[in-house]
């Protein structure tokens, strides 16, 4: 049976067919027919944000905490250009997002019409794919294809641009089942030959390490379960990128902590000295590898990734396996078991004892203070007081983000939402809103710096309007902390524009939006204040005044290999050479 309906109605019907119950958006002239259809129904909940960047980061938070695609609806011109940062963020972190943007009517395209922008042109490099739909008959099929592309293979953002006359016109609705998505079917099964090679390497390995990434989380809960089964079954140590935290539990016996520029000493040393590195859904990002020619020099490297372009892009690997993480891990387990579940037990015992020595360095220790709140201490207390809750953490970008990754622990996937690849300040607050919308009863905390947080602080309006009890835990050092740290290490302590004057009174700011504000500048009050934040039924801005010039350590200085970490402030002077300073 063919169904005739307007393009605007098709958008809503296609969302229903895709099982979408929540979208994030902001209306405008060209989007009004779709907004009219949203008004006329109750299946799909629309969360009105205060800025389109907030909509897309909220959708990212929703997607990352649920594994479902996040959906955004914006108007033409400025509406959609405001999503560009979020699209790029989702592209770099491989987050499935579907953006619907309205466009001026087809007969006005190219005339510099009011609120016209070349949307598909602007968003082409920051989407996985995008479409301008000029024919209402093609709209529904395009939407279904959009969801398919966003969620298949390596996930990513897609955008569907819909001119206003296409929204008004009537056409034939194509159902999800009849839409043709056959041409885009990325391979998910890994080569069994390569998997057998990896198992042979696993059986012999003396100093193995798993290096897992966001691909494990994107692959779904089964991938995390299999990763745990495999790592624990083999007794191999495991580290993770920022993106992959929670895929393997922090309480697991093989857990080394995060690796990379601000990763843990034991994780980076294990990566440097290993003889078998098994990369599971990570991409050898420059924050991970440090100096390329000194990256894990003696190891055999295996790389499991669903995107063939990730293989050999940065690091040449010995055993490439293109496939979905869950499928490949399942096959590795089967092959390993079928060959007798062998490992090099005596060598592994030595390796574990070496790792124990590295752990004894206690790289996360810092100089405590009796007078001021150290940011690390604030996070340790936050961890202690919140870990028993059904907890989701988002972050902004900077020192606080790295400290959160170091001091908070994650037992499950989809609990940690942070802007990894793009490093988008202003991500965390709207992301926390998206997470809270998806998990209304959970404790959702955005660990923030005051500078990042102010980049999307208008979303306080969204939090209060929808009564989303998100907790904004701001580590306020009145500085762009990470910028300041680099200026200290690299630019002769010339703190060019890295501090904030005339910061708002965050308590009054919260109150102005009808939310609760808490300020804490006293060590003795910290626990009580955090408990007050947790137990308050509504959004909270927690202004935690912390040590202003604390450095985020340990750190691999740019241009240095993994085994040359800075561990404490005594070693930071002159640590980065001119060549390293040229890197970001």
């Amino acid at each position: 049976m063919t169904r005739q309906m307007t393009g605007a109605k098709m958008v809503v019907q296609a969302l229903r067919d895709q099982g979408v119950d929540t979208i994030f958006g902001y209306p405008g002239g060209a989007a009004l027919p779709i907004y009219d259809e949203i008004f006329l129904q109750n299946d799909i909940r629309h969360i009105l944000v205060r800025h389109e960047q907030g909509a897309i980061h909220a959708a990212e938070g929703y997607a990352r905490s649920t594994g479902k695609p996040g959906v955004v609806l914006v108007t033409s011109g400025p509406g959609v250009t405001n999503t560009v940062t979020g699209l790029t963020d989702a592209l770099l972190d491989s987050i499935p997002i579907v953006v619907f943007s309205a466009q001026v009517p087809t007969f006005l395209i190219g005339s510099d019409a009011f609120q016209e922008a070349d949307t598909v042109g602007i968003t082409r490099p920051c989407t996985k794919h995008n479409w301008l739909v000029k024919d209402t008959d093609l709209l529904a099929a395009t939407i279904h294809e959009g969801f398919h592309v966003a969620t298949s293979g390596r996930p990513g953002p897609v955008l569907i641009d819909i001119p206003k006359d296409v929204q008004f016109a009537s056409g034939t609705y194509t159902t999800r089942e009849t839409a043709n998505t056959s041409h885009y079917q990325p391979e998910t099964r890994g080569s069994i030959e390569a998997i057998t090679d990896l198992v042979a390497a696993i059986e012999k390995a003396e100093r193995p390490v798993f290096y897992s990434g966001g691909g494990v989380i994107n692959s779904g809960p089964e991938a995390s379960r299999l990763l745990r089964e495999l790592a624990d079954g083999l007794g191999f140590p495991i580290t993770s990128t920022l993106m992959g935290l929670g895929a393997y539990p922090a309480s697991g016996k093989g857990w080394l902590g995060m690796l990379g520029m601000h990763g843990l000493y034991e994780a980076n040393m294990a990566m440097h000295d290993c003889d078998l590195m098994i990369n599971v859904g990570a991409r050898f990002d420059d924050r991970i590898t440090g100096r390329l020619d000194a990256f894990s020099p003696g190891s055999t490297k295996a790389h499991i990734d669903i995107d063939p372009s990730s293989i050999n892009k940065v690091i040449r690997v010995d055993i490439p396996i293109v496939g979905d993480v869950a499928s490949v891990l399942g096959d590795i387990l089967k092959v390993w078991k079928s060959r007798g579940s062998k490992t090099n037990t005596p060598a592994l015992a030595n390796w574990r004892s070496q790792i124990k020595d590295w752990k004894a360095v206690r790289c996360l220790e810092y100089t405590p203070s009796k007078t001021t709140i150290k940011p690390q201490f604030a996070l340790q207390r936050l961890e202690e007081l919140t870990k028993k809750y059904d907890r989701y953490i988002t972050t902004e970008v900077g020192q606080h983000q790295m400290w959160a990754a170091q001091y908070l622990t994650f037992e499950d996937p989809n609990r940690w939402m942070t802007s990894g690849g793009l490093g988008t300040m202003g991500y965390g607050f709207p992301a926390s809103i998206g997470v809270q919308v998806a998990h209304p009863d959970a404790l959702v905390i955005n660990v923030a710096g005051e500078a990042s947080w102010m980049m999307n602080m208008q979303e306080m309006g969204t939090a209060t309007q929808f009564n989303l009890p998100v907790k904004q835990f701001i580590l306020n050092n009145e500085r762009l902390g990470m910028v300041r740290q680099w200026q200290e290490l690299l630019h002769g302590e010339r703190y060019s524009h890295s501090w904030s004057e005339s910061l708002p009174d965050f308590v009054k700011l919260a109150e102005a939006f009808g939310a609760k504000g808490i300020r804490c500048d006293n060590l003795a009050d910290l626990d009580d204040a955090i408990i007050e934040m947790i137990t308050h039924d509504g959004p909270v801005i927690f202004d935690c005044l912390v040590e202003k010039h604390e450095n985020c350590l340990p750190m691999i200085p740019s241009g240095k290999p993994h085994n040359e970490m800075l561990l404490n402030d005594d070693t930071t002077a002159g640590a980065i050479g001119a060549a390293g300073g040229a890197l970001v």
């Binding site: 082409r124 794919h129 301008l132 080569s191 293989i311």
Partner: protein, 187 residues
């Protein structure tokens, strides 16, 4: 395949894998991309090259399958073996792209380009231009008493050589199509 000792699980199974992947030698490769003939598809391909800093030495685009709405984009690019492999994999990510064929490594292929040359001159120069055109099997497609337009088809190298010869004989303008290429044989 095993006789060539290709590493298992290698992303492409060709003898080309036997090269040193870390080589810094710059190679020239002709890539044939089959894409959906839809608005913006060329921008996707060339945007990838400019955005990631790859070279385009020649680019030819035309619809080759009218009913299937498919176009063939022939790109001549250059880079180290690792870069070429990365370019092919990055092209493979484009949703509206169906296949990438590396005609330089996947068996023998033919490459042709068409050039149009406007040459103006009188007397001996004019005679010499016409004589050389004959040697190169170029056709005269336009003629006035003081000029010719020659049409020449061949490899890019042949067209380069013809251009070098025409330059002292009064070469005014050149138009070249860029490379079109196909693999040899029945497959």
């Amino acid at each position: 395949m095993s006789a060539l000792n290709i590493k298992k699980g290698a992303t492409s199974h060709s003898a080309y894998e036997l090269r040193d992947p870390n080589s810094n030698v710059i190679e020239r490769h002709t890539l044939a991309c089959i894409v959906d003939n839809e608005a913006g598809v060329l921008a996707r391909v060339i945007g990838l090259f400019s955005g990631r800093g790859y070279n385009i030495e020649s680019l030819t685009v035309a619809e080759t399958d009218h009913e299937g709405h498919r176009s063939r984009i022939t790109v001549v690019t250059s880079g180290t073996p690792a870069m070429i492999e990365q370019i092919k994999n990055q092209l493979g990510r484009i949703v509206s792209l169906h296949s990438v064929q590396d005609l330089t490594v996947e068996g023998p292929s033919v490459e042709r380009e068409l050039g149009l040359f406007k040459v103006a001159g009188e007397g001996d120069k004019r005679v010499e231009a016409l004589r050389l055109a004959d040697i190169f099997r170029a056709n005269v497609v336009d003629s006035t008493l003081e000029s010719f337009v020659f049409e020449i088809t061949g490899t890019p190298e042949k067209i380069d050589a013809f251009a070098d010869l025409m330059r002292p004989l009064g070469l005014l303008e050149v138009a070249r199509t860029g490379v079109a290429a196909l693999s040899r044989g029945a497959e």
